[in-house]
Symmetry: C2
Subunit: 316 residues, 2 copies
């Protein structure tokens, strides 16, 4: 039965490779239609939209659409108001995406822990100043967000020997990780963290959470890593916090406007490292297993894996 499914899949992304996804889907479906771009012979036959962002002309022409499958762990990059109502939406929860996020977190955390950001500056300034290394247990890391990804990041950093705290909207338990919730828990956590790492989902509650008020609670000289969304951060407040010395340095994988405009003050800032939204990517050959399962569910009219609760919108 499964082999006889002939799904028509519409694909749209500015960062994922259509060729890789087509090849990956071919390992799951004997017969399928894969449409990319504007010219689609019979839009009414499209069953599933596999997308990162919305195409300019939206999805309205796909009148028989059964599911919208995000190519990312979040769906906030999709303009929810422009999506056809009553079509179920799913996030992509995928081990290869989680793993690349965990590796990015380790890269950014070790860079601060071992002061490589200072040595980069010293290298440019012809300066040889010894800074003794510290053990990982002496570096305290506060992870904001303990969903599938935040949880794996917290556990991986704990495994590296760091002192890890985690904060989430709802109470969570994680072995070896001190967990917090609520506004008081947030204040406690950021006040004791050498590095604050954000992987919260973007919701109305978390928008602009990384702002002046929260930075005032940070430990002096802390570092910030934003792997969430650009809209979590009030960018001018970060510039002020670095200028005052409250925050030592920041690694930002996301920005309010991407690509970051050339005139933005984050560029060439001695305390800020910009990475061009590279923290997490799904490897199609691995992630296709989850995507194919959701295509089969959509074709069978079943509810989706990691389906987004439309009432809670982005609140995951």
């Amino acid at each position: 039965m499964v082999g006889q499914l002939k799904p028509h899949i519409f694909f749209h992304s500015n960062i994922d490779s259509p060729d890789e996804w087509r090849a990956a889907l071919a390992t799951e479906f004997e017969d399928f239609t894969f449409s990319v771009g504007r010219e689609i012979a019979s839009p009414e036959s499209v069953d599933v939209a596999l997308i990162w962002t919305l195409p300019d002309d939206g999805l309205e022409r796909f009148v028989n659409l059964r599911a919208i499958l995000s190519l990312g762990a979040g769906i906030d990059q999709l303009d929810l108001g422009r999506l056809p109502k009553h079509v179920p939406i799913a996030r992509l929860v995928d081990a290869s995406l989680t793993r690349t996020m965990v590796e990015y977190a380790k890269t950014a955390v070790y860079r601060y822990h071992r002061r490589f950001h200072v040595f980069e500056r010293q290298s440019r300034n012809c300066q040889w100043t010894f800074i003794p290394p510290t053990v990982s247990a002496a570096t305290s890391i506060g992870v904001l967000g303990l969903g599938e990804i935040g949880r794996e990041i917290a556990l991986a950093l704990q495994h590296e020997g760091f002192a890890v705290h985690g904060w989430s909207r709802t109470p969570k338990k994680l072995e070896g990780v001190t967990t917090h919730t609520g506004r008081d828990g947030l204040t406690r956590m950021v006040g004791s963290s050498n590095i604050v790492l954000n992987v919260l989902p973007l919701t109305e509650e978390t928008r602009h959470m990384l702002c002046r008020d929260l930075f005032a609670q940070f430990k002096d000289g802390a570092c910030l890593i934003n792997m969430g969304r650009g809209a979590h951060l009030v960018e001018s407040d970060l510039l002020d916090a670095i200028a005052s010395g409250k925050i030592d340095a920041a690694t930002l994988d996301v920005a309010a406007v991407e690509p970051l405009p050339r005139s933005h003050p984050f560029w060439n800032h001695p305390g800020i490292l910009i990475t061009p939204h590279v923290a997490g990517t799904s490897v199609p050959m691995a992630a296709v297993v989850t995507i194919a399962a959701n295509i089969r569910r959509a074709m069978a009219g079943e509810c989706l894996l990691h389906q987004v609760d439309s009432d809670r919108a982005h609140r995951v």
Copy 2:
């Protein structure tokens, strides 16, 4: 008996803290003399020299010296010709030193694996260019030297999922690591490594091993991490290899002359990160266990732990 030992310890280092070492030794010996600097009341009563480098006036005045204990994993920083003959010398093999070396290796390796060195450059040049992340299994690392430290680095990187190769003078076996020996093995290993990481001891055989001839065998665009000694590297050959594009970038924790002179071309070089000999440091409170064991052995006239074979000089 052990509690009644009253060793006289002479301490000399430009990077280790005498106060921390005195406090650490106090946890092991009830009664001991700890001398630092030139003015020592009775040099003939000094039993043990605990040193990183040699003091300007050498150790000759300590006529009853029973042992020279290095504060480092190597002894090449000591001018062997200036050491009193027939006094046994030991390297410091210590878990806290090994651990800081392993963490440094992870920091430097992840930085290249996740292209943070490219993003640092892009950040300075206001450039947002997406580079898709790759999985750790796709990054091949060649570890030069499989002694106590190299072995732990290779295993830790293998545990992170990297494809790890190792090369040593004598054949070694390491689970999950492809090991090589001999000149052919060396050529094979560097030819298939995205990152070559050096932790060899400095000997007459390994001096200037990282040179033009070896770089010619490297994979195009490989990265080099030198955590060994400055004299392993022919510095001008590295500059040529980067200029030609053969080597993409290098992280150097050691230099032929330290501190690296201000006029050196490595400073402010876009492909080179200098770290000021910070890869490994012993935490006195941890390392004192090994040092105290060797002080007891020296006082009892026994051979030392990790004693250096004087015939093989630096060959460890």
